[in-house]
Symmetry: D3
Subunit: 189 residues, 6 copies
């Protein structure tokens, strides 16, 4: 585990970490080869770390008709609008890994409109991006456009929630200057 | 409890609600005179309701050097940038109630720059609004500006997190057309 | 009559006011319970006060197929784009009063797209808001959209004029820091 | 007098014009070689024509520490932000005529930042342009910047009022497709 | 030849100019009555002057189904978005000259949407302006809109290239404060 | 050489290519392992290919106090503002290769403000980005900021020219849907 601070703030991790948190971090190291810096950043306060990971895990890993790749696609398309370095590095890697298509990850980072995706996924990203850029202008016809390509009302909730979530994390990351683990850069290229 | 749908989506509440949730809603009715529609909206899925309320309660009611009023001020200033009807109605009421100053609530909804607040609070809102409008342009000098008026690194985390949180809820609310309880309008005028 | 300055400028009212102006102010006090600060602000120069009130009275109170409420709705929707505190406070109160619907006033201040209004009024506000945000992009098809919902050419003139007028007053109010009478806040809630 | 309609609306002039109005139009023809189309556009309704000309004459020709050229400079700088064809043609000609400097008129139409003007006039236009682009962000320091280059509080009122006025006329002109008299193009080149 | 510096940079012309360049400048003086300042600005380095003029001549004077006037129309519409004083002055004059229609030149400088042009030219300028304002949002349907009014794929290349070229020159001109020859102002009025 | 079309336009390469062009393409294949698609895209017309490569080679490979890496940094920072997929892929790879620092390439694509660069390079990119986003607002103080960190007037020309050039190519690429060679993605990761 690098000793470099994960943000610009002087908020050291609780030391020692509670046993359950340490286990979670150990699992991360084992599975991902690292503890994502976002977790280290939140680890100055266990309540904040726990509410963050609970929401993250429900939204990104929980039950949904959106595939995990599709949720990561939303994460990247939203983070590209907000130009969030942390989220683009980490979730760009996730898109490359889950899709096995490095060009898809790059396209979503750079300009989602050129990505080779189907009509349904394009509608999903158009909605997420509109919600990011001008949420107050989203109206019933935008939801109708999602229903027209096969999304259910529950799917609309999930798209809105994932898009919303990354609009939150993008701001937290930029607000505290969160720095991505270096390892992401070379992953799944 | 009104039967009106709290959003444009057909996602009915779990029925019956789990006992603990029903108790929470009963407390809301008792204390606030209503169950806020945001809770009813999330109540189609207990995991989502629970992660939302856990994060909300930690951020808005938990321990922080920012007063509850100051956190609500951030909520309103952020929601005004995003023009989120639900959040402006609900948190505008909260500002009026906590401050006892209806004009303050109105100013934050309409143009936070005219609000009669002190230098420290103005710096706090400037940071939250910049994070909302152009998060990628927030840099160390912006954090320095907060430190210069007395905010600690932990406070900077809290300001970023609260601002981030409402950038999430604003998108969820607009994405699903969340509708505020009518009762808010007349509160604390 | 409060002694507080109605703007940030040191431009005291003509003292004594001409008899006719004093009468007009007395009528205001009698009918509205106050002299609106905008009138006090202009009262440093009788020619300016008179040309302002003449245009205001013709546009907002004179003969038109737009109801007085509809003209106030335009005032608020335009002022929301420009985030003019004075005009939102004063004309938000007018919408609440004329409509008897506090939620309508709030919706127009916060995000006119969620207001419960009919198709004709929505088209009217879409036109006024487009004229406010990007007047150079208004073209014949925008006027056709108004005609399609029943507006006459004279109505188009009136919508353009009222929208234009508040684009003026929003700038004057922000330029001089015009402060609304406190009494507006609690009215018609 | 050309028979061409001065706008896209079918709102013919009152016929015959009231005697006083006809006299006013005759003076225009004599002095300017034309009746400006804006006057013909308003002449479908005498009350509207009269309130418009009263305000115009007070602001642009009345007593002020701002020279007539300076007021026209504001008119053009504001109209350039809003890309109002009518106002740029008519008031661009006025700047060329009053200044005897065709390049000044062109610079104000195209990009006021390159105009060869003094520090005081530059501050005046910066204020007017800021008021046009983002009025809600104008604060006391902007007024202080005007005072620092010698403007009085009355001058600040005048700058705000002239900038406000053209933000109105730009919208009215674009809303009704007001068309400038052809004669302006070649004037004072 | 005026001695005034053509830019804000201290980059004097090669002295003496190479024979071929001097001949080219002499032809300019003879045909245009001046050496355009853009050429003097580039003349501190012959390689840069040559690559610039080669590209300019190919794009603006070379073989194309777009008329020379149409290419100049694109130049002005693009430069109006970017508010480039140099390019608006020089190419505004070119539009007036090639069209014999001073009002057309003015309209393109001020707001191309009011210009009296045919549907094909309007589509051409809409594409060029969209490419200037938000190039990443240009997609196949935008190219289809050009094909629908008769443009070939080669024409789409030419429109994109000319629009691209002025997006370059606008930046170079503003970056170095390039100043147009005074003579342009009165031309073809 | 892939047979895939390098753009959305049906503009096949001249066949056979002129001998000198074929040699140039062969050198590309030998040195880069590919012929960049931008060259194939221009190869429907030799005059256009030649003027493009002449300008490119002078600006990006010719004599300058800006290093080749710095010129590529400008290319990427500009292309990130315009979200040009082709240029970000191709010049992102160039930054990674020339710097040997993959994270630098990523940072410039995603948000140049987080890139670990020195004050001089930051000033260079700030200027290039301002020129890209709002060229008309660049004024003498912006050039002074470059001089203050050591740039000469010739350097300012070069920064402006490179920034301008990519504002051109970004538009050409988006206008014709230019597609980057797949090989770039994995380079220098």
């Amino acid at each position: 585990m690098s000793n470099e601070m994960p943000t610009a703030l002087n908020l050291p991790m609780v030391d020692p970490l509670p046993e359950q948190t340490q286990k979670y971090f150990d699992v991360c190291t084992e599975k991902l080869g690292m503890v994502p810096n976002v977790l280290k950043a939140y680890a100055f306060d266990m309540a904040k770390l726990d509410t963050f990971t609970a929401m993250y895990n429900d939204l990104m890993l929980g039950d949904s008709a959106l595939s995990k790749l599709e949720r990561e696609m939303i994460a990247v398309a939203v983070s590209a609008v907000n130009k969030c370095y942390y989220c683009l590095v980490a979730h760009g890697a996730a898109v490359r890994q889950l899709s096995g298509d490095p060009a898809l990850g790059e396209a979503l980072v750079m300009n989602y409109r050129v990505a080779k995706i189907d009509t349904r996924q394009r509608a999903m990203l158009d909605f997420a991006v509109k919600l990011t850029q001008a949420s107050a202008t989203v109206e019933e016809q935008d939801r109708e456009a999602l229903r027209a390509v096969g999304f259910s009302d529950r799917d609309i909730w999930d798209i809105s929630s994932v898009a919303g979530f990354f609009n939150m994390t993008n701001r937290v990351a930029s607000g505290v200057d969160m720095r991505p683990n270096e390892d992401y850069h070379a992953q799944a290229r």
